[in-house]
Amino acid sequence: MLRLLSFALLLATWWIAAAVAGSTKLPLPSAVLAAAITEAQSGALFLHLGATLARVTLAFTLSMALGSALGYLMGRSRLANRLGDPWLILLLNLPALVVIVLAYIWAGLTEVAAIAAIAINKLPTAVVTLREGARALDPSLDEMAKVFAFPRGRILRHVLLPQLAPYIAAAARSGLSLVWKIVLVAELLGRPNGIGFEIGVAFQLFDIPLLLAYSLSFAAVVLVIEAAIVQPFEQRASRWRLRAA
């Protein structure tokens, strides 16, 4: 209820701002909605949304899987941490644009290059978060598992993952927003479809309603993913806590 109210307030602010600024700079919400409906009816909206979502899914999965494994290793092993740390700092501070441009130069304007570039951008933050998670693992529970001879799979599922779950959720949440930002740049620079590509087109035509229609459609998808997948996962992972933070 409170969320709806907050959303209505945003919409009202937009409406007033549009009325004041004039529709060439900021179109009315109704104009944006009309543009979105036209794009949806032609099927283009779903095509581009689908293309971008597919890239986000692939790059996100890749970087989360690799980042979690590397982060865990670096949190548990001093040697791995020493070896990996310079690379991690380099990657963390490397601008997204550099990675994307270099990937396109080296691997051509291909899907693989785009997805790899997005994944590499997200990878270091996942590593850093999971490394903290691995460092915070409770050694007394490791000992318990060892004494009672838990097999590896049982340790992973019942001892490690529940402790890492908040870190994985945090990495997923911040990672998703990062991927969503970077995927558009990658699409703008070197892909013939996707939301980023369409936004590039709208920019060249100065078609602000089209630009906003695509941006907001994707923002809506991100919100749905957040509410339908990320938040329930967090809640399930922390249900054993008497009072969730």
């Binding site: 529970l141 000992e143 318990m144 004494v147 009672f148 019942h158 054993w240 008497l242």
Partner: protein, 236 residues
């Protein structure tokens, strides 16, 4: 089946870089069906010794021969339950093969029946300790280690849990090693008592108790305690 321990020396480097000796000579052996009790002043290295016996610490001088293929169970000083799993899941994870009637019996003895689906965070310390005991017994171990399982519990509860431990120990033949600083627990539960010196720990004296556990009256316990007090003044 036999447990042989001969730890000649165990030391570690403390945070300020100094080498500290924790154990300077503990050797004894336990047979199947025997309850050994290790008593010593707090901080003398008892828990370090248990960690070596449990295979959690391999950095020591000496030898420990654990019975081949023996199933180990341990009750740590803290309950060490998985907070994100229910009481029953905690036990089943450690003892996946436990039969339902056996589990029900253990729950019955320890009065945990009503707490099966609770999470450890919802339990009091006394209850959590009982769950840790239940877990150790559900494993049906050949070698059971109990590290001060009754510490910081009120006397009445400690006495009841002690009875329950005695009952469970009697229910199957295994090697049991109990660490405690309560002479009362030691005399009521043990077949043999090992007295340790202050740090670095050394085995000072071994005292066998010949009266069967079930027949130890309050008078017998008091007499044995008096004997022990004459042996060693450093143990309270």
């Amino acid at each position: 089946m036999r447990l042989e321990i001969d730890i000649r020396s165990k030391s570690y480097t403390s945070a300020n870089g100094k080498r500290q000796e924790v154990i300077s000579g503990i050797a004894f052996a336990l047979q199947r069906g025997e309850v050994g009790v290790v008593v010593g002043p707090s901080g003398c290295g008892k828990s370090t010794m248990l960690r070596i016996l449990a295979g959690l610490d391999a950095d020591y001088q000496g030898q420990v021969s654990r019975p081949e293929g023996a199933r180990l169970a341990m009750v740590f000083q803290e309950p060490r339950l998985l907070p994100w799993r229910s009481v029953e899941e905690n036990i089943r994870l450690a003892a996946p093969d436990v039969a339902e009637d056996r589990l029900a019996a253990i729950f019955g003895v320890l009065e945990l029946e009503g707490h099966r689906s609770h999470f450890p965070g919802e339990l009091s310390l006394g209850l959590a300790r009982r769950v840790a005991l239940a877990r150790a017994f559900a494993v049906e171990p050949d070698f059971l280690i109990l590290d001060e399982p009754l510490a910081s519990l009120d006397d009445a509860l400690a006495a009841r849990l002690r009875e329950e431990i005695a009952m469970l120990v009697a229910s199957r033949p295994m090697i049991t090693l109990l660490v405690t600083h309560s002479m009362d627990d030691a005399v009521r539960l043990g077949d043999r008592i090992f007295l340790l010196s202050p740090r670095p720990a050394r085995l000072l004296h071994t005292m066998p108790i010949d009266v069967p556990r079930a027949q130890r009256s309050n008078d017998t316990v008091a007499a044995i305690k008096a004997d022990l007090a004459r042996l060693d003044f450093s143990v309270s």
